[in-house]
């Protein structure tokens, strides 16, 4: 077999596997939505103060960060603002504190209240229950980032020439089909969309992976506090993986491949790319695979709870 055909075969295989797992995930997600599991998670999350606290904390920290970044930007205008945002420790500390907060109750609270019993004796699969828990927490995670859209709007407002907002509003007379692309084009002239969108994508992917790990932590914990601590430790661990390449001696040519492979696991490195507008498929797959594996193990943990 030639090199080219071997590579093609490998790609087809990889695509097939990706599609297969994607289909399985989609099926589980749809079932969880249809059975009302996601709806119930959201009802419960937003009935508790936790969700509102997390959103408020996120809005507060991001707001302060934004103001600080604007100050910095005013002095050194050439630094891309999105990059500073992700390279600052605040982003990671916030994530590390809030993700366990929104995932800790998912299974641990059901266990404490005993509601896990009627849940698992209902005619649903354990995987569907896990998907419901995951999607509920993930939607809340996404809601944490909604306030930053307003910050983006504020940045745009101050960066734009006087009368810019009014000129956008005036476009409405052109009808929606022509007005929207025109408005986007004018905004694009001031704000670089690429890094913003890829940064949001990266944030969403990181959220998927970390929320999944948090759900796994909750699935193996008896109380919410244990779930929080376990999730925080695991997540800090995934962040610390990024420090591993620094431990490999840089001057050794034989260890160079190892160093390179390890740096592929680095979350800060991944975000340095996302915030530059670079979407590396390997980074995306790593985060998606982490979510998938964590949810798979969470399902096994829930099943073993029932069938021990």
């Amino acid at each position: 077999m030639s090199e080219a055909s071997r590579l093609l075969l490998l790609r087809v295989l990889a695509l097939g596997v990706t599609l297969l797992f994607g289909a399985i995930a989609l099926r589980g997600m749809l079932a969880a939505v249809r059975r009302g599991l996601v709806h119930k998670e959201l009802l419960q999350l937003f009935a508790s103060p936790i969700a509102w606290f997390a959103i408020a904390a996120s809005a507060l920290v991001n707001g302060f960060l934004f103001v600080a970044l604007l100050e910095l930007y005013a002095r050194t205008p050439n630094v891309p603002i999105v990059q500073i945002f992700f390279s600052s420790g605040f982003f990671w500390i916030l994530q590390l504190a809030l993700v366990p907060l929104i995932t800790m109750r998912s299974f641990a609270a059901e266990r404490t209240a005993g509601t896990i019993e009627p849940l698992l004796t209902a005619p649903v699969r354990a995987s569907e229950v896990v998907w419901g828990k995951f999607l509920g927490a993930f939607v809340l995670y996404l809601a944490l980032w909604l306030p930053t859209v307003a910050l983006l709007g504020a940045a745009l407002y101050y960066a734009s020439p006087p009368g810019f907002a009014a000129s956008l509003w005036a476009l409405r007379s052109h009808g929606i089909v022509r007005a929207v692309p025109e408005a986007l084009a004018r905004i694009g002239a001031i704000l670089d969309f690429g890094p913003v969108l890829s940064a949001y994508l990266g944030t969403a992917l990181l959220g998927a992976a970390w929320v999944a790990v948090g759900v796994l932590a909750s699935a193996v914990s008896r109380t919410q506090i244990v779930a929080y601590i376990l999730a925080a430790v695991l997540l800090a661990g995934t962040y610390a993986l990024g420090e591993l390449p620094a431990l490999v001696p840089a001057d050794s040519p034989t260890l160079a491949p190892l160093r390179e492979a390890l740096s592929g696991l680095s979350l800060p490195a991944a975000f340095a790319e996302f915030s530059r507008g670079v979407i590396d498929l390997r980074r995306v797959l790593l985060l998606l695979t982490t979510s998938g594996l964590a949810l798979f193990f969470a399902t096994r943990a829930v099943e073993s709870e029932r069938w021990r």
Binding site: R35, L43, P118, T121, A122, P123, R125
Partner: protein, 321 residues
């Protein structure tokens, strides 16, 4: 409908169930009785599919209850012990969640929720937060949840726990109404309740079925064959003793003098004989006044005490830990 085949359940060194088998068909209300720790809740959890049996099998309508057996679980409406509910949801939200969980569509769910709210007397509380409900209301809500989708088998762990006397009566009426179309297995330690609603009870003791008892309400009272009689009568002592001992089918009598010419007599018949009419005729012929004449049935309570204490010595041994 429901078949439990020789299930055992161990938790580490503890044996919670040591080979329990029974069957229950449509129209049957089966009560599990037993002292605390006899294995009632464990048995119901195994039947509902929450705990796997260490050995043995549970089948519902021919389907084995198991980890992936969502269809077998769909046939069971389960009310767990202590009625665990989500306190932060409203009554209707909780029922809607349960309805969709058992696979009902939106329309069907709406109809079913209205039905179970009515049946469990919760119509006026549909908007209340679950966490604010009293113990009895929580219990009824959990029962309402088990009834959603009208599953043919109902597994109820202490359905009357926390209910006031009025609600207990309403529950009994509901169970009687459901009985003809369903298979109901319930656990209780309230013996009059078991007598009132069950047509069969199993007395569990140390993880085994110590005794099985049919309960025939009403119709069963007509037949008193083989049962000892209790008689209170005003008659001369010697004549009474002699006459009773002379009756055909009497095995033994015990007479107690109550004073004033009155006597209490316990008449033990030979097996299978009903002596009530013979005793009544004798009293009539002699002109003796009868105050009371009734067969002595062993009460469920007597059976319960007999099988949960007497069988203690022969119960399954717990392996030393």
């Amino acid at each position: 409908m429901l078949r439990v085949q020789d299930i055992t359940k161990r938790f580490g060194p503890t044996i919670a169930l040591a080979g329990v088998s029974f069957e229950a068909g449509r129209g049957e209300v089966l009560g599990l009785l037993g002292d605390n720790g006899a294995g009632k809740t464990t048995a119901l959890r195994v039947i509902a599919g929450y705990l796997p049996p260490t050995s043995g099998r549970v089948t519902v309508a021919g389907r084995t209850v198991g980890p992936t057996a969502t269809r077998a679980r769909a046939a069971i409406g389960y009310l767990p012990e202590r009625a665990p509910l989500y306190d932060d949801l409203r009554v209707r939200e909780w029922l809607r969640f349960r309805a969709r969980l058992v696979g009902l569509g939106r329309r069907a769910a709406r109809i079913e929720i209205a039905r179970v709210l009515d049946r469990c007397g919760l119509r006026t509380r549909a908007r209340a937060r679950v966490g604010t409900l009293s113990r009895g209301l929580r219990q009824r809500l959990a029962l309402a949840g088990a009834l959603l989708g009208d599953p043919p088998v109902l597994v109820l762990d202490e359905p009357s726990a926390g209910l006031d006397p009025q609600q207990v009566r309403a529950l009994r009426a509901l169970l009687r109404e459901l009985a003809p179309e369903h298979t109901i297995v319930l656990s209780t330690h309230v013996l009059p309740e078991a007598e009132a609603v069950c047509n069969r009870v199993l007395i569990l003791h140390r993880g085994r079925v110590a005794h099985e008892q049919r309960i025939e309400a009403g119709a069963g009272d007509a037949d008193a064959s083989g049962l000892p009689l209790r008689l209170e009568i005003i008659a001369p002592a010697e004549a009474l003793t002699a006459a009773l001992e002379a009756l055909v089918g009497v095995r033994r009598i015990e007479r107690t003098d109550l004073g004033g010419g009155a006597h209490r007599v316990r008449i033990e018949p030979e097996p299978g004989r009903d002596l009530r009419e013979a005793v009544a005729r004798l009293a009539l012929e002699r002109g003796w006044l009868v105050r009371e004449l009734r067969p002595e049935r062993p009460s469920l309570e007597e059976l319960f005490v007999r099988y949960t204490t007497g069988a203690a010595a022969s119960g399954p041994e717990e392996t030393a830990s």
